[in-house]
Amino acid sequence: MTEENKNSGLDKEEEYIINIGPQHPSTHGVLRLVVSLKGEIVKSVEPHCGYIHRGIEKMCEKLTYPQIIHLTDRLDYLSAHINNEAVCLCVEKALEIEVPERVKYIRAILSELTRIQSHELWWCSFGMDMGATTCYFYGLRDREKVLDIFEETCGGRMIVSYNTPGGLMNDIHPNFQKRVKEFLKHFRKKLPEYDQLLTGNVIMQERTKNIGIISREDAISYGVTGPSGRGSGFSCDVRKHHPYGIYDKVDFVEPLYKTGDTFSRYKVRMDEMWESMKIIEQLIDNIPEGDYCAKMKPVIKLPEGEYYQRVEAARGELGVYINSRGDKYPYRLKLRSPSLSNLSALNLLASGFKIADLIAIGGSLDYVIPDIDR
């Protein structure tokens, strides 16, 4: 037995070690969890990342800023638009340009639509992890409508690449406002169905309440942000605390739950869908006329210096750090991805619970593997 194994608590004789992943239905991608079990009880979890590492941060050092946007889609592919926006905001901050009001409105609407579709897919897969297969189809049914809106306006369905430094690639489609309003009307009726199918279910509540608890202090020290952090009462919404774009002008509530268990993380996301709809409703009728893109130089060169911009992605705080040496490429680009720090708390959350709880906790953290590995 090596020294390293002794310390990690693995490889002891009485423990039963299984590899959940890299190919496993409920790791939502190529994540490998080395789980040490005692019977059904999880003693420790060791996540092994890197199976889908593509070196995006390094690749960015050889790409111009408008090109980088297209790579950020591939981080957290479920909140592609928000990732684009983060890089654009960072570049705009460095260049000190003010984007037109119209752009801010459209970006916010699309961000919230992205958040809704991401949470819908999370709800689908959370249901799947719990063994309620029907959830998957209910969620996808409504998610399809958001993707149709994206397809019409952005051209892409999931990987949108609609942002560009200074604004947007194109103006919105003439149908955009109508389609969004139709979707809101539809989804206001369908969201209560989600509660009827899963939230109110006795088995679901029994399996999630008081399971996988993380305290507020631990959430802060592990950097668990987004809905997972807010489930523990950690008020960490970037849109509230460091507003960007139009968020300081809209009225919405940051849902907070105190218990920090799987169920409260679940509830935060369900509430966020309502809040996102509220934000879109405030903005959709008031999109001002104007340019869809600010005047930009053909070759964007950032002045020398360090720039950091954070946004609230669907999974938590996404930070973009650009170190520029005055070139048309960044000297160094670092991304602070929410999924990685959320995953780091998995051992703390799942130790002492059952295998089935580990899967449910993993579902409630809602990590996206390409976002972890980058």
Binding site: Y16, I17, I18, H24, P25, S26, L37, E40, G127, M128, D129, M130, G131, A132, T133, T134, Y136, F137, Y138, R141, L197, L198, N201, I203, M204, E206, R207, K354, I355, A356, D357, I359
Partner: protein, 362 residues
């Protein structure tokens, strides 16, 4: 040939008599067994194909989808195509597996279903064996399937499979009690364990109506426990695809996997048909004591239609909650059985005995 769809007794007796008349007793018995075996094999194929198709359609209906709709009209040939695919698939040999037990396990699972289905009365006079301890026999043989599941999990040399098999062992051993006790409640009312007698006793009203409160409680408990015993959702912990990939049959492929798959559906059919027979009158038409004209009209519907109608209705209920509920956790599963179902069941048997003694049933 005396053939009557309302009463198969004379038909089966005619086959029996003509075989024994023309052959020596030993050969007659062998022929009889062969006929029954072939009949059941055909029945298995038909019911298996139908149930797989039905499940996919019901599940699609619950999940706002259409389901299979490409192969044949309404996709009815889809399951046949799937069956051929499974038959032609390679049987992947597993390294370091216990070969003998690994190959034996699917057969144990499928043979127990054969043994159990033999005692079920499909229509008047249409069953393979009519024991005087019919229910006891079914309970005994159906609990043997856990051996197959345990062997499959143990011999696969796969950690997921072993966890699945251990879960399944704990689950089936626990829920066996509830199935047994809920059937005993009805045996108290019927006063017999012979399935044909139980069905005949329901000629003036099915037991679920005759035994009112305790019979309804027993039926609900039976439905929960029977679903758990067949390893179907929300009690599919032994398979638990999101936790254990496929549980005890992870390593099986081709026709051996098909055996497990078929056994699951046949088991579902068996538990549903027992529920139909014991609680809902089996092949007995819907009768209300005293209403002669109404009873005569009901008698025009052939018994096997009554039997399959009731069975498929119960199968539909079982499918319904599989596609609605999330899966339970292993400790919740055992808590449900030992802390709730078992005490309720024991009390229910006493209640039924009291009601029978006082003559408060209909």
């Amino acid at each position: 040939m005396p053939f009557n769809i309302y009463d198969f007794t004379s038909f089966t007796q005619w086959i029996d008599k003509s075989l024994y008349d023309s052959l020596s007793p030993l050969w007659a018995m062998i022929w009889e067994m062969t006929i029954i075996g072939v009949a059941f094999l055909l029945f298995y194929a038909v019911i298996g194909l139908f149930l797989v198709y039905a499940e996919r359609k019901v599940c699609a209906f619950m999940q706002c989808r259409i389901g299979p709709n490409r192969v044949g009209p309404y996709g009815i040939i889809q399951t046949i195509a799937d069956l051929f695919k499974l038959l032609m698939k390679e049987l992947i040999p597993i390294k370091n597996a216990d070969k003998f037990l690994f190959n034996l396990a699917p057969f144990i699972v499928i043979i127990t279903t054969f043994l159990a289905i033999a005692a079920i009365p499909f229509a008047k006079g249409l069953h393979a064996i009519d024991f005087n301890i019919g229910i006891f026999y079914i309970l005994a043989v159906s609990s043997m399937s856990v051996i197959g599941v345990l062997l499959a999990g143990w011999s696969s040399n796969n950690k997921y499979s072993l966890i699945g098999a251990m879960r399944s062992g704990a689950q089936i051993v626990s829920y066996e009690l509830s199935v047994g006790l809920s059937l005993i409640t009805i045996i108290v009312l019927a006063g017999s364990m012979q399935l044909s007698t139980i069905v005949e006793a329901q000629a003036d009203g099915w037991f679920i109506f005759k035994g009112h409160i305790p019979a309804i409680i027993a039926f609900i408990i039976y439905l929960i426990a029977a679903t758990a015993e067949t390893n179907r959702g929300p009690f599919d912990l032994a398979e638990a695809e999101s936790e254990l990939t496929a549980g005890y049959h992870t390593e099986y492929s081709g026709i051996k996997f098909a055996f497990f798959y078929l056994a699951e559906f046949i088991n579902m059919f068996i538990v549903a048909s027992i529920a139909a027979t014991v609680f809902w009158g089996g092949w007995m038409p819907f009768h209300i004591g005293g209403w002669e004209a109404f009873n005569n009209i009901m008698d025009y519907i052939p018994p096997f239609i009554w039997f399959f109608g009731k069975t498929f209705f119960i199968i539909f209920i079982i499918m319904w909650f599989k596609w609605t509920f999330p899966r339970l956790r292993i400790d919740q599963l055992l808590t449900l059985e030992w802390k709730y179902l078992l005490p309720i069941n024991l009390f229910n048997v006493l209640l039924m005995a009291f009601i029978v003694l006082m003559g408060w049933h209909f």
